[in-house]
Symmetry: C2
Subunit: 433 residues, 2 copies
């Protein structure tokens, strides 16, 4: 039997990155003995009673609706259902005074698919043979952007400025000048993409920074994709104030997954109708449209006003408390004399830990932790191949979706492993002298 022949695209798309790369690994170890491992890798949102009950009620209402048959037994528009699009328009007008036409809203099969459609439409090889890239203004950022790209090496990023805020806290700062220089010097930027709040770090780019990025993009006619999967109005996992920023050249990208509906795969893109039309046609050819039951569930929770309310009152609070708890745990358990830094808590559902001077790579650390029954996400893939700094191999992502007990158990394991690493490393260093 000869080997399977794959296209270039087929080869590219069989590579999983980020958390998806270790997913198989995770499944295997978790299946082997459920109680043995502490899993702090999950991107799955915690199932909060208030959130879940909202979705259950939404579904119950659908079942009792006489129009159900038209919903499940009919194909729909590739833009999404009119009712959901109109709900989104109404929400943005009422709450942000932003007026949207129907053609400015696209419902996708989840946020992952939204970026698949957008990045592969605006980036990649052009008719003229040039490869247009997607630029991340501040690394690290969601590993899935590299995952969705149909071509290799399409994602590039600007290294962040590392700012130590105190003994064990740091924050990424946006390198404005490097961004402006890059855009000015590189004619092959097809799109700019960023998550806000940021996955993995929890950083929230300031409004000023986003306005600057948007203005630069506008000057160069580059669409700016703002991944708002953790942003208000839903799931509203922001711990500092932020609002959606909508401009003519921005594609504002929302997701229902972190608001408790990951199973149904619903994403929402808002932008200029020219952009949306391209993505709609791509979606139409690729999978026709997303789940209509899921779309109706979102309609119900928007009409009742529950979705933004539950997001702000329960989801946000939950993760803020979790991050506080994680920080306390780290402060209590981790050796004070080791240069560990937790990224400032601004949003998202992750803790992002930097172990400065880690004597080996993040994936080695991943394996060492796995050997001690702790699963975290190694941070390297969030730097999208950038070799700018050793920092890129010194971070891990800790999920805040675990229970307090799991977090506690996990951080104890982490601390003991880290202690050993740094003490043996000190010996090693001393030995060298």
């Amino acid at each position: 039997m000869t080997a399977l022949h794959l296209s270039k695209i087929g080869n590219k798309m069989t590579n999983k990155v980020g958390v998806r790369a270790i997913m198989h690994d995770i499944q295997e170890v978790l299946n082997s003995d459920l109680n043995q491992y502490v899993n702090l890798s999950a991107g799955n949102p915690a199932i909060l009673p208030q959130v879940y009950e909202m979705w259950e009620e939404a579904l119950r209402d659908i079942v009792n609706d006489k129009q159900l048959k038209n919903l499940i037994s009919q194909y729909g528009s590739s833009y999404g259902t009119h009712e959901l699009i109109d709900c989104i328009r109404e929400y943005f007008f009422t709450n942000y005074r932003i007026k949207l036409d129907r053609e400015q809203v696209l419902i996708t099969s989840g946020s992952q698919n939204l970026f698949f459609l957008a990045l592969n439409s605006f980036c990649g090889t052009s008719k003229e043979g040039r490869v247009k890239k997607a630029l991340i203004p501040m690394l690290p950022d969601y590993a899935g952007y590299s995952g969705v790209a149909l071509e290799e090496s399409v994602i590039e990023g600007i290294p962040p400025i590392l700012s130590k805020l105190d003994h064990h806290t740091f924050r990424y700062e946006f390198n404005k000048q490097a961004f402006k220089d890059k855009i000015a010097q590189d004619p092959d930027i097809g799109a700019v993409v960023l998550s806000r709040p940021n996955n993995p770090s929890g950083n929230i780019l300031s409004e000023e920074a986003v306005q600057l990025i948007s203005q630069v993009c506008k000057n160069y006619h580059i669409p700016l994709l703002i991944d708002s999967a953790y942003a208000p109005p839903f799931p509203a996992i922001n711990f500092i104030k932020m609002d959606p920023i909508i401009h003519d050249n921005i594609i504002h990208c929302m997701s229902l997954s972190k608001a408790g509906l990951p199973g149904e795969r619903i994403g929402i893109a808002i932008g200029k109708s020219d952009f949306i039309k391209v993505m709609e046609a791509f979606q139409s050819n690729m999978l026709i449209h997303s789940s209509r039951l899921g779309q109706r569930m979102v309609v119900n929770t928007l009409k009742s006003g529950k979705l933004p309310e539950v997001s702000a009152n329960y989801i946000r609070t939950h993760y803020k408390q979790k991050h506080d708890y994680l920080k306390n745990l780290l402060t209590t358990c981790m050796p004070d004399d080791i240069p560990w830094y937790l990224h400032k808590a601004e949003g998202s559902l992750f803790g992002w830990l930097w172990l400065e001077g880690l004597p080996f790579s993040d994936s080695d650390l991943y394996n060492k932790l796995k050997a001690e029954n702790l699963i975290v996400v190694p941070g390297g893939s969030f730097f999208h191949g950038s070799q700018s700094s050793s920092h890129n191999r010194e971070c891990i992502r800790i999920s805040l979706t675990a229970t307090d007990e799991e977090l506690k158990k996990g951080i104890h394991i982490l601390s003991s492993v880290v202690k050993k690493i740094y003490s043996s490393n000190t010996i090693l260093e001393t030995g060298k002298i």
Copy 2:
């Protein structure tokens, strides 16, 4: 404002083909005055009470299930849910004595997406720069295969043999020799793809023909994709006996859309784990997984045994009757002395009408019919760019999903337009002499 820059892929994917190309047109005319037009273009299955009630019950059971929260509030495996995969395995073992491993089944976001994953993995530009094509053994076939391809000109087809069965009936016959020659002579075939029953013609390739195609594919290590969107066990829209054919090099592709669940987008691929693994990774990167509510609904209807039962007893019967009705209408209304031929009714939910010697193209006919308030699908795009014969521009697809009344109204319009065309053409021809 400069024009929108798109990648080659972006440009390709903004082109809609087949029924999707005229969808906008259809929506516009239908929105303008719902009562004015007769729409015989729809690919949407008719909503039959027995079918719809089955899905409604399945959904009602889900809402009453205590495990609902794990279903909607959690991400799942990109292979699909274990419970659905196991149901499929059990069904195939019980009914066809085919033993499948879990890794041989993939749940996709609908059948369209299944072909997107498969065709773009196995066909398109390879690392070595050669463009591998997907070969259709007998044209016409589903226009969407060209639609899902990320690159231009990836789909090729073998022209059929036209066999007139009687004064107004014809059937496509598979040109074995041409197929064998093509595969032997062209080293750049990456996959073979066919629908069985065939969309648009309703032809069902004989088991013998499929076995031959499969054997040739096997000899050349080419995966064979069999699109079973209209096949038994569901939706079972076959009017002559046929069974699924599963071999090592076949990817058997199923859909829930024509069994009444188009809104949820559920497709099923069955094949060698090597093939499935590639498609699973692609799906994982592209959209994570398909709707979990939809997957559970399918589980419920498979476990109760209703899905295959309702398919065989109601769905199949419904479309068989519709096709008989269409044939009667055509026989009654269409002029007997015009060379019109309806493809033999073997399956699918379409009538496929050949107007031999049509003096202009199928899209001209589409426009003439539209002017008289009838919408059908022009047949040209089902030939995927093949210029093999004038036949390729002489066909239209008539949907059997309409009511009897609509069909009657539609065929009356068609007949009167066709009469005019052929009579004026005769005059024209006579005038020339």
